[in-house]
Symmetry: none
C-alpha cells in the first residue's frame, strides 16, 4: 500500500530532523528549578508547532508544575478518538564530564542523534507531531479524531497531569491512548509494550532512644534503629529474592503459557545483559524464573537508601535516635497498591524489633496494568508495524511503571497502545543519551500508518 | 586540711568559668575539614594560657591532623611526674535543630553550662589548666612534676597523638597519666574509671552493578547493595545482641566476682536509666547480663550509618551501584583489635551475598584496658576525692574507648588515673551537651587535691 502521508514524511525528513534538534537544544530539565523557564519554552515551541500544522484548540494548561500542552482535531465523526501522550521534560545531565558531546548540542554520530531527551522523550513526541503534520499536509485531514496531551513533569512524578486526568475533563474523552515513551526490544524489531508493573514507594522510620547516644556508653543496652531496620528488612525478603510478607503473592495473575513462550523466543542473551547492562558479578532474583519473568511479571522489593545516623567520612560512634529506609515494591497484574501496602504495613507492625517504634509510610504508588493484545487498536498497531518494519510485532512488558497509563485506564477508561521507538542502549537517564536516526524516521512512518489503520 | 590552691580556685571561679566559655565558642569540630582553622585556634588559646599561668616549654607539636599542645613544669626532683591529657576538639553538632540554645554560644541554665564540648572535653581540659594555675599561683610551685599533652583529633581517632606516643619521645617520660574524659557514676558520687572497652571502627563497602540502575527495569535481576548489607549485618549479630562472628568471644577475661559484686551495689536503677538516659520502649542486649555488664564488660557491634543511594525527600527508584555501612565493635579485656578485625573481615568475606563485592576497611581502633586499683596513684586519687566530695570513691568501667589510655600503657608503661567529672546525662556526642557547673568547680578542687596527694 502507498500512503501519501508517508511519502510526505520521507520527503521532509531532513527538515523534521533539524526541527527536532531545535527542540533538543532547550534545557527543559524538570528536576532543576533554574530550568523552569526552559520547560515553558519547550511547551511553547510544541504548542506553536501543533498550531502551525493545523491542530486546533491549542493551548497550555497550567499546573502546579510545568504546563501541559493540549491540542485536538475532531472532524471525523464516527471514527475513534486517539489521545496522544508524551513529555517534553528531560532528566538532569550529570555527570556532565561523561558526555562525549554536550547534552544540549544535538550531534549526529554513527547513525544516532546524541542529546539529552533525544529518546526520552522529545524525539518520540516530535515523531507524533510530524506524523500528524504529514497526515494533515498530505490529505488535508486526519484519519481519525486526535487529541494531544503533553506534560513537562514526567521526570518528577507527573502530579500535574495525574490531577488533570483524575478530574476527567471533557477534552480528554477518547477511545484509546497512544503512548510513545518505551523502546523496541531489539534494533529493528517492532515492539508493543502491553504490561507495566505497578509500585508502592514507602518509607520505614524506626525510632529507638530519645536522642542520639554514644555507642561506647550505650552499646549493649540502647536499641539501634539501623539494626532494627536490618532485622525488619531481612524478614521482608530472603536471600533468594522471595518476598516474605504473608499473602503478598496471593492473586497474582501469571503470564499465560503463550506469553511465556513468546518471551522465550525473544532475542535475549542473559550473559550479554549481565555484562553490558547490569555489569555485576552475577544476576540475582527468584530461582525458577527467567530474567524477563523476574523483571516483568514478578513483584520485587528494593531498598533505595537508608538515611540517618552518621554518613560523613571517618568515624562517629553514634547510636542514632532514628533511621529510615526507603523501600519500594513493584507489583504485577492481580495485585493492587492498596492491598500490597496494607499487607506490608501489617506485617512490619508484627515484626517490630525489641525497643523501637516503627512507622511505615506510603510515599506514592501506581497500579500495575496489562493491555489485552486482542483489542482492535493493538491489532491496528501490529498491522502498521509489520508493514513499516517488515517483521511481526513482539509483545513485551516493562518492569517499570508509567503511571499515566494506569491513570488513563482508571479515570478515563481508555486503554493505551505503548508504541515506542527507543532502544535498550539509548542511555536514557544517563550520559550520552541517543535516539537512533532510523528509528526516528521509521517511528514517524509507523505512527502515520497506525493512525491510518486505527481510523479505517 | 586547707589548701591555698583550693582557696585560690574558689576565689577565681567566676573568671575560670568565663574563660571556659571563650574556649567553648571556638568551633573546633575535628570531623569537619572546614573547621581546621578553628581547631588550631583552640590549640593556640590553650598554649597561650598554659604559658600565662607559668608552664614551661609550651609549644604546638604538628601532626598530620590538628596540632598537639605540649607544656611542662619539672622542678620537683624526686617527686613523680604526671602526664595530664585531654582533647580540645569536639563532635559535630547535627542535628542542629534539636539544640535548645546554639551549640557554640555557651549558656547557663538550671545549674548547667550548655555547649558542644562543655563536658567532652573542653570543660575538663580547662579544669586541668585551672588546677595548675591555682597551684602555681597559690604556692609558686607545683607539688610534683607535670607534663601536659592535649590533642585535637580525639573525635576522629587520634592518629596524630597515637603516632607521637608510639615514638616514645623523651618529653613524655612520666610515672602516671591523668585523664579527665570520663564521668561520675551518679551526681555527687566520686568515681574513678578503671576499665575501658576497646574498639574497631570499620566501613563495609558493597558494590553491585557498574552504575546506578532503575529499580523498575532491573529490580529482580540486579543485585542491590543495601540488601546485601542487610544480609551481611543480619549475620553479624542476632536479635538477642549476640555477635555471630566465629571465635569473636574467645579469650575474653570476665570481671572478677568482687568487681561484679561492687557493680551490683552501685546506685543504678535500670528502669530509671531506660527512661531518663536512653528513652526507648525497652533496653536491648544479651540475655543473662546486667546493663552494666553489657555496656562495660561485653563486646558489642553497632551500625552508625549507611551512606549511599537516595536519601532525599520523596521517591527516587534507584538501585545504587554501591552502598556503605559504618560498623563498629567494642572490645573488652582479653580481646585485641588486630584479632577482632581479622575475624570480622574473614567472616564477612565468607558470607558475601550473591552478585556483589564487599570490602571491609578498618577506619580506626583502640585496645581495651583495665587498671589495677591497688596502684599508689589510684590510692592518692581516692583520698583527694573523699575529701572534696565527702564520699568513698566507686570504681567503674566505661563502655567507651579512650585509645590514648591504651597507648600510654603500651608505649610509655604509664598507668592512667581516669578521673572525670561529666555526668551520665551530659548528652556528649548529642544535641544539648552540657557540663554541670558544680562539677566544673569541684572538679578543679579534686584535681588540685589529687596532684597535692600524688606529690606528697
Amino acid at each position: 500500500m502507498s500512503s501519501p502521508a508517508v511519502a510526505y514524511a520521507r520527503k521532509n525528513h531532513p527538515r523534521f530532523l533539524s526541527e527536532l534538534k531545535e527542540l533538543l537544544r532547550v534545557q527543559s530539565i524538570s528536576t532543576l528549578p533554574e530550568h523552569k523557564a526552559d520547560c515553558r519554552r519547550a511547551a511553547e515551541m510544541l504548542a506553536a508547532e501543533l498550531k502551525r500544522i493545523g491542530m486546533e484548540n491549542v493551548r497550555l494548561i497550567e499546573t502546579e508544575g510545568n504546563p501541559l500542552v493540549y491540542a485536538d482535531w475532531l472532524h471525523t465523526a464516527g471514527k475513534p478518538t486517539v489521545l496522544c501522550y508524551g513529555h517534553y521534560d528531560v532528566q538532569p545531565t550529570d555527570p556532565d564530564e561523561e558526555w562525549l558531546t554536550p547534552p544540549f548540542e544535538p550531534t549526529e554520530r554513527d547513525g544516532n542523534l546524541y542529546a539529552r531527551g533525544s529518546a526520552d522523550d522529545k524525539g518520540q513526541v516530535w515523531a507524533h507531531v510530524k506524523a500528524l503534520e504529514s497526515l494533515l499536509a498530505a490529505g488535508g485531514a486526519l484519519p481519525l479524531n486526535v487529541r494531544v496531551l503533553l506534560e513537562g513533569d514526567e521526570e518528577v512524578g507527573g502530579e500535574g497531569i495525574a490531577r488533570f486526568v483524575a478530574s476527567k475533563p471533557a477534552e480528554l474523552k477518547s477511545d484509546f491512548a497512544l503512548v510513545s515513551d518505551t523502546e523496541l526490544f531489539a534494533p529493528g524489531l517492532p515492539t508493543l509494550c502491553v504490561g507495566l508493573r505497578g509500585m508502592i514507594y514507602t518509607e520505614l522510620e524506626v525510632r529507638g532512644a530519645k536522642t542520639d547516644l554514644h555507642s561506647g556508653m550505650y552499646g549493649g543496652a540502647a536499641p539501634n534503629p539501623f539494626f532494627a531496620l536490618v532485622e525488619i528488612l531481612a524478614k521482608l525478603k530472603d536471600e533468594n529474592g522471595h518476598i516474605l510478607i504473608p499473602g503478598f503473592y496471593d492473586g497474582i495473575i501469571p503470564p499465560s503459557p503463550e506469553e511465556l513462550a513468546a518471551w522465550k523466543s525473544l532475542p535475549f542473551d542473559e550473559e550479554h545483559y549481565r555484562i553490558t547492562e547490569v555489569g555485576s558479578r552475577e544476576l540475582v532474583g527468584e530461582a525458577g524464573y527467567s530474567v524477563l519473568e523476574r523483571t516483568w511479571a514478578r513483584p520485587t522489593l528494593e531498598v533505595h537508601g537508608m538515611p540517618g545516623g552518621f554518613t560523613g567520612a571517618g568515624a562517629k560512634t553514634v547510636i542514632p535516635a532514628k533511621a529510615l529506609a526507603k523501600v519500594s515494591m513493584r507489583l504485577v497484574p492481580g495485585m493492587t497498591t492498596a492491598k500490597a501496602f496494607a499487607l506490608y504495613k501489617g506485617y512490619v507492625e508484627k515484626i517490630v524489633p525489641a525497643g523501637v517504634e516503627v512507622e511505615a509510610r506510603l510515599i506514592h504508588s501506581g497500579e500495575p496494568c496489562l493491555i489485552p493484545v486482542n483489542n482492535p487498536y493493538i491489532q491496528a498497531a501490529t498491522r502498521a508495524l509489520r508493514e513499516v518494519w517488515g517483521k511481526e510485532t513482539v509483545f513485551i512488558r516493562s518492569g517499570g511503571s508509567i503511571p499515566i497509563v494506569g491513570d488513563f485506564d482508571r479515570h478515563l477508561g481508555v486503554p493505551s497502545v505503548m508504541m515506542g521507538f527507543g532502544l535498550p542502549d539509548d542511555n536514557i537517564h544517563a550520559p550520552n543519551e541517543k535516539f537512533h536516526l532510523k528509528n526516528f524516521e521509521l517511528g514517524i512512518e509507523s505512527l502515520i500508518r497506525f493512525l491510518e489503520e486505527a481510523g479505517r
